[in-house]
Structures are given as structure tokens and as C-alpha cells.
Symmetry: C2
Subunit: 347 residues, 2 copies
């Protein structure tokens, strides 16, 4: 598909205009613009050709033109020039990452919020997979005779805790011994391998030292059954209400259902990990409810070969350029910020 320079210009201006106004763009209004020195008739001819190529559409026979999905695709592939962020935006971003925050979740959540607030779209952030994180310490805190809290701390500072019922016949000394064994055996084990290791290696050891070891193993293995999905962090879940394309409650509901049932979104976001910026427009999302939105995802690597991703969900009529710039900046900052949690592992 070869476009003349003039066609490129017109396409670009139409899409930019539509992104701003959400209104079909007519030839006359275009011809009035400064950077368009052609008459409306000329523009009409070009529009006709662009429509034939499938880059533009009409909402009805005598309406102005609207970008098609293919048009957006062409736009992001060929017409998007990297655009520097405004100073105001930059300084706003700086300010989040300025104060050294100490919890991963906190950084991630705040990134999601700032991202949605700056774009007016919905943002989704997936922290680095913590299944690979290694156990730093295991603690058991008895609450009373029957139950206790098991706590697992990872090398990244993530804390998992779960309450469990103490098997009968186990005395405090048993528990103390157990904690010692667990720490000896499990420190350094990645979370994914925890359950396996528990049954295979630790079980034997416990058998020798602890009464009722099998019940205890059972209880503890439960605890180590850490959820498969990492948690998605959202910002501006409601922002899509502000988009004119979702002025209809039914449409809104369909979209919200998908957003809330995170399992649809999860693979779309997860998949991106490690491959730069990815843009999915409308039907490319392979989901009926997402056919009028675009999802832009960016992955950010953290030290140690892992990565997380952040995403913006907006109408197909999205400010691609700005969103991409923002994602680029924030993913880099996030990389840096989170890497400080990881790079201290090995000390």
C-alpha cells in the first residue's frame, strides 16, 4: 500500500482531529486548517481514495470520515513520531519516583494511579512475577493453642501470610524446631518450587524430629499454595465513563464486566512481558467486549531477568502518541525503581 505524501498528511490530520474531537471529519473543515493548503474538493478526492484503501470510513453516506481500525493501525505503524512529553507531565512523573518508596506494591499501585490520572484512561499494572522470588525467611507465630500464623518473607520483601490450624499434639518446642528446619531447608527456594520441595525434602527431615509431622506438612503445604495469577493493579477503572464512546450504559457494562473479571485481561497483559511496547487495536484484542478499545502495553525489565508490564486501556480513538511516550517514561522509571528491590538479593 503506497500513499502519496499528501495522502499521508491528510490521513494524519484526520486521525489527529478525530482523536481530539470524536466527531467525523469533513473535507471543508479540513481545508480551513493552516497546514492543509488544498481545496475541499481535492481533499474529498483523497478521502475517497483513502476510504477505498480501507483506512477511513463513513458513519453514513453523507457524513465526514472516521478512521477505521486499519486506519489506526496504519497511523501507529507509520505516522506516529515519538513525541517528547510536556515538561509538566515529566515533572509530575518525577515526583512519584522521587521519594524512595519501600514497598513494591506501593510503587506499582502509585504508577497505575498516576498513569490513569494523566491519561484519563484506565491503567493496568502487573508487577514482576513473584513466583521466582526466593524465600528469605519463614516464621510461625502461634496465636493460641489451636491456630498459628505462618509467614513467608521473600528476598524482594514480599510478605505472604496465612493462618492455619495447629495439628493436635504439637507442642511449642515442636513448632520452634519446625521453624528452624523450614528456614534451613527452604531459604533460597523460589516460591514456585516451594510445595514440591516441602513434600520431597522437608518431609523426610520433619519425620525424624516432629510428632504428627504429616498433618503439619499438610497444613503447611496449603499455605504455600500461592495463587497462580499475580495481582493486577488498576488505576482509573471508572475513567472509561468519561469517554463519549461509552455514553451508553450497556456498552459500559460490557466493558466493565471484562475489566472486573481480570482473567480476560490477564493474558493480554502478561503476554507482553519482555517485548517492548505493543499495541492492540479494537478487534485485535480478540474479545467482543474490547472491540472498541485499544490496549497499549509496555513491559519493564527488572534486574534478574524478570519483568512486569503496564498497560493503558482506552477507546480506539486514543491519544496513541502521548500514551506511548508516557508508558516509555514510566516503564523505565519503574524498571529502575523496582530493580533496587531485586539487585540487593545476592548480598
Amino acid at each position: 500500500m503506497m500513499l502519496t505524501d499528501r495522502q499521508l498528511l491528510i490521513l494524519q490530520v484526520i486521525i489527529d482531529d478525530f482523536i481530539r474531537s470524536a466527531q467525523p471529519v469533513g473535507s471543508r473543515s479540513l481545508s480551513k486548517k493552516e497546514d492543509i493548503p488544498f481545496s475541499s474538493a481535492t481533499i474529498r478526492n483523497e478521502m475517497y481514495d483513502l476510504e477505498e484503501m480501507g483506512l477511513l470510513e463513513k458513519t453514513h453516506t453523507s457524513s465526514g470520515r472516521v478512521p477505521s481500525e486499519k486506519g489506526y493501525r496504519f497511523y501507529v505503524d507509520h505516522l506516529l513520531s515519538p513525541q517528547a512529553l510536556k515538561k509538566k507531565d515529566m515533572s509530575q512523573i518525577q515526583s512519584i519516583f522521587a521519594d524512595r518508596i519501600l514497598e513494591i506494591e506501593n510503587v506499582v499501585q502509585r504508577s497505575a494511579e498516576i498513569l490513569s490520572q494523566m491519561t484519563n484512561y484506565t491503567s493496568i499494572v502487573l508487577g514482576p512475577d513473584h513466583h521466582e522470588n526466593k524465600v528469605k525467611s519463614v516464621q510461625i507465630i502461634p496465636l493460641n493453642l489451636e491456630s498459628a500464623i505462618a509467614i513467608i518473607v521473600t528476598d524482594t520483601g514480599h510478605v505472604e501470610n496465612k493462618r492455619f490450624t495447629i495439628p493436635p499434639g504439637l507442642n511449642p518446642e515442636d513448632i520452634e524446631r519446625m521453624v528452624k528446619i523450614l528456614n534451613d531447608k527452604l531459604t533460597g527456594t523460589p516460591l514456585v518450587e516451594l510445595q514440591d520441595k516441602m513434600y520431597k525434602e522437608v518431609a523426610l527431615f520433619l519425620k525424624r524430629h516432629i510428632a504428627n509431622y504429616d498433618l503439619m506438612i499438610e497444613a503447611f503445604a496449603q499455605i504455600m499454595n500461592i495463587p497462580v495469577h499475580d495481582k493486577l493493579f488498576f488505576g482509573g477503572k471508572m475513567n472509561m465513563m468519561n469517554q463519549p464512546e461509552f455514553n451508553d450504559v450497556d456498552k459500559l457494562r460490557m466493558l466493565m464486566d471484562v475489566i472486573d473479571r481480570e482473567d480476560y485481561l490477564y493474558p493480554l497483559i502478561k503476554e507482553t512481558s519482555g517485548s517492548g511496547i505493543q499495541i492492540r487495536i479494537g478487534k485485535e484484542n480478540n474479545n467482543e467486549a474490547l472491540k472498541d478499545v485499544s490496549l497499549i502495553t509496555a513491559s519493564f525489565p527488572v534486574i534478574g531477568g524478570q519483568s512486569g508490564s503496564l498497560a493503558i486501556l482506552g477507546p480506539t480513538r486514543m491519544e496513541y502518541s502521548r500514551v506511548i511516550s508516557l508508558l516509555n517514561v514510566i516503564s523505565m522509571d519503574l524498571s529502575k525503581a523496582l530493580s533496587t528491590f531485586y539487585d540487593q538479593d545476592d548480598k
Copy 2:
């Protein structure tokens, strides 16, 4: 205000009907009902009177009648007979509380979900205030030379954790000693008093045993600065989209804004703690955005004098009877379920 039996009947039927259909109720459709043996003309006369009393309204001169806020208020105060839940509902509730769940948060979250799912309204649950919970154990897990995780476990099994920077010059032995001191001094202290006690009692002690104790105190006091607001748990946040009164995106947005900014809702919910079931209809919520909704709150006591509350937010045209029954049942179950966490404290 005295109503005849017939007026009571008619008012009741009108409100019941409107709650079901969301449509203004006309005299003719009423007169066709089995339990209404009067002609439409008679009903019209009664309606006229009920309107004069401010219990009914018209949407326009020749429309059917709609309950006014005052009408709903009368309805819940005088016409609501406690209604037994359907077996299906009961068994569904049983099933959540059947399997003994071990985390407070889990129970609370699941209650919120079941409540919203059964009513199709939005539910909000506030767990028992954990500021009064007492420290059971304090742990410090060093992650590397610079940072460590502080963990506080309460007697109810609640775990707070926070990362902090280790003041320079502190060695592992110092930390170990510090943990010992903290446990000695703080076990049994309610969370609210923690910060105070830290500065007043523990500081002196640490001074004697730990290098750089002042930095450490500073760092640790930070950690103990536990958020003032307890967390609200929501179920069915989006359910209001299904109500015809929020078919308009602007209305929906106003409502959602208030729901999301929890600080408006918090006092409304919190306030109820300890005073049975409370119903706020429309403007009684004292909030412009909540003028078309009703909030029904129920508090549930847990052993030890504390209490939490659960609430249902729905349109003023809410199934009051059903919601009240559900809240009654679930709040009792919740009382029981959560009390098991608390009553084992003292053993």
C-alpha cells in the same frame, strides 16, 4: 398521621409494585389485583389523599403514582413485616460460612460478595476495628545490609508489614536484641497505643542496648503508623449499572465517584457500629450524589466489645424487606464467625 386500613393496604401495594417494576403505578392496574377489591375510582380517591399526605408523588399531572421519600420512610417504619428468607437464600448463605475460613479479611470479603450477588445491589463491609487489637509478636527480617522487613502480628491474626531502611552502624546482633526488647515490651499493646509506647517506654530501654537507637526508633515509629481508616470491603461495585435509575451515565458517574472516594461513605457506615439496623433513604444520606439511593447498614458485634458493620447501597426503590432479612442473617453469621478469631485471645 393516621391512615385507614385501606390506605395502608393501597400504599403498601403501590410501593411493592413500584419496587418490582420501577414504573409509576396507576389506579386501574391496581384495581385489577386480587387483593384489591375496590374500583379504580375509589383507589384514585385514596391515592389523592395519600399524595396530600406526602407519601406518594406523580411524575407528571397524568401519570401514575410513585412513592415519595416520605412514603418509603413510612413504608419501612410501619409496613415492613419481617419476612423469612427463602430456603434457597438461606442455604446459599450457609455455604459460605460452612467451611471454616481462617483469615478475617477473607470472611469479610466473601460476605460482601455474597451480599451483593444475592441482592444485585452494592455491598460494603467494614470489619471490626483492628486498632484495639493487641500485638502478639514483632519480627524483623533483614533482607540485606540496608533494608529489612518489620512484621507485626496481632492477636487476631492480622499481619502488618513494612519495609524500612536499617540505620547505618547497626549489626545483626543489635537487631536480634531489638526484636527481643520489642516483643518483651510491646506484646499485648493495642495497636493504637503502639507509637506512643514506643517513644515513651521502649525508647529508654533501647538507648541502653542499641547503637543508634534514635534512628531505629524513628524508623520503627513510622512503621507503626497504621492507617487511620479501616479498609472498606466492597461487593458488586458495578451493580448499580443494572438499576434503571442509573441508566444515565452522568448520574452513574456521580454515584461512582462517591463510592470510589471511600471517605464519604466511611462515616456513614462507621457511625452505625453497634446500633442494629439503620436505614437512610435518599436525602437522609446528606449527600447530593446519594440522594437517589438508600443505604441500609447493620452492625455486628464481635466478642470483646468491638463491632463491624455491613451495608447495602441500592436505589431508593430497594427491596427493603429482603435486604433487611439478609443483613440480619449475615450479620449474625458474621458475628459468630469473627468471634472465633477473637475469643481465643486469652488462652
